[in-house]
């Protein structure tokens, strides 16, 4: 490693940490909704942050995708894929987090529950 490499590494380190910090401090604290998409079509909308536990089943490309909701967080429990990346990812709860089940063509996004309401406030 020479001096130029070190400058590059330090620059990148500062940049990425700053961006992560920015994303985390601007996080949305409103009511959130999880939206489940299959092949870009919205198939399921689940309100988060209620005192409830539920399990949902969505048809993925390779078969059933089982989704679990626990209060304000959501995860994929079971799905058919070679690497099981989306079930290994575990729980997500912030609007900047996304679960992508590539082989199943299923995407879970989290959105602030009511954008219109937020504008009026």
């Amino acid at each position: 490693m020479n001096k130029n490499d070190l400058k590059l590494v330090l620059g990148l380190l500062v940049f990425s940490v700053f961006m992560i910090w920015l994303i985390v401090i601007t996080k949305n604290t409103d009511q959130k909704t999880a939206k489940v998409y299959f092949e870009n079509d919205l198939v399921l909308t689940i309100p988060l942050s209620q005192e409830s536990k539920s399990t949902h089943k969505v048809n993925g490309f390779n078969g059933e995708v089982v989704i679990e909701v626990d209060n304000d967080k959501i995860r994929v429990v079971q799905e058919k894929s070679p690497l099981h990346l989306c079930s290994k990812q575990g729980w997500i709860k912030e609007t900047y987090e996304t679960i992508v089940c590539l082989p199943n063509k299923v995407v879970i996004e989290i959105e602030a529950a009511d954008d219109v309401d937020a504008v009026i406030k």
Binding site: N2, D5, V9, M19, L83, K88, Q89, E97
Partner: protein, 168 residues
């Protein structure tokens, strides 16, 4: 001489395919952050870039993506396009960095690693239509630094080790 080089390049291609498959078995790099991986196969691409040429490096890189696609993830699947964009972007970026900057092989490796991440996020946004994936880019960039350095240091040793060997 030509034949010798082609045989060496095909052996390197085989090695890079094996490295890709071994890497997908390392549990830490599966999951947690989508798209995160060590990039061991990039040691081979970097070695070819430094010891042969940009053209050879791109040939091996693209063929590797096709072979891993056939063997593991399915060719022309969405995963395949993720790998392809990563390979093309990082290969080109590493070549340009090597050619036009004063960075050593370690820096070039870090640049390759970064552009691999950028490629992944770009394809995610285009193919699966989720602009939210952009929020993972800073995380991917952060992890690209150590993985890029590790891959760069390994490649450096390989290049030095085979320097004399290749002159024959």
């Amino acid at each position: 001489m030509e034949l010798k080089q082609n045989i060496r390049l095909s052996m390197l291609l085989a090695l890079s395919v094996v490295l890709s498959i071994i890497e997908s078995m390392i549990p830490f790099f599966n999951g947690y952050i989508p798209g995160l991986k060590l990039g061991l196969a990039n040691t081979i691409i970097l070695f070819i870039l430094y010891s042969y040429s940009f053209k050879d490096a791109m040939y091996v890189s693209v063929l590797r993506v096709f072979l891993v696609g056939i063997l593991r993830t399915g060719i022309f699947s969405q995963t395949f396009f993720f790998s392809l964009s990563g390979a093309l972007l990082s290969g080109t970026a590493m070549y340009l960095t090597k050619r036009f900057t004063k960075l050593s092989i370690v820096g070039v490796s870090v640049v390759g690693s970064i552009f691999h991440s950028v490629g992944q996020v770009l394809v995610a946004i285009i193919i699966i239509n989720t602009t939210n994936m952009i929020y993972y880019l800073p995380w991917l960039l952060l992890f690209s630094i150590p993985t890029g350095i590790i891959v760069g240091l390994i490649s450096k040793e390989i290049v030095i080790y085979f320097e004399k060997e290749l002159q024959n």
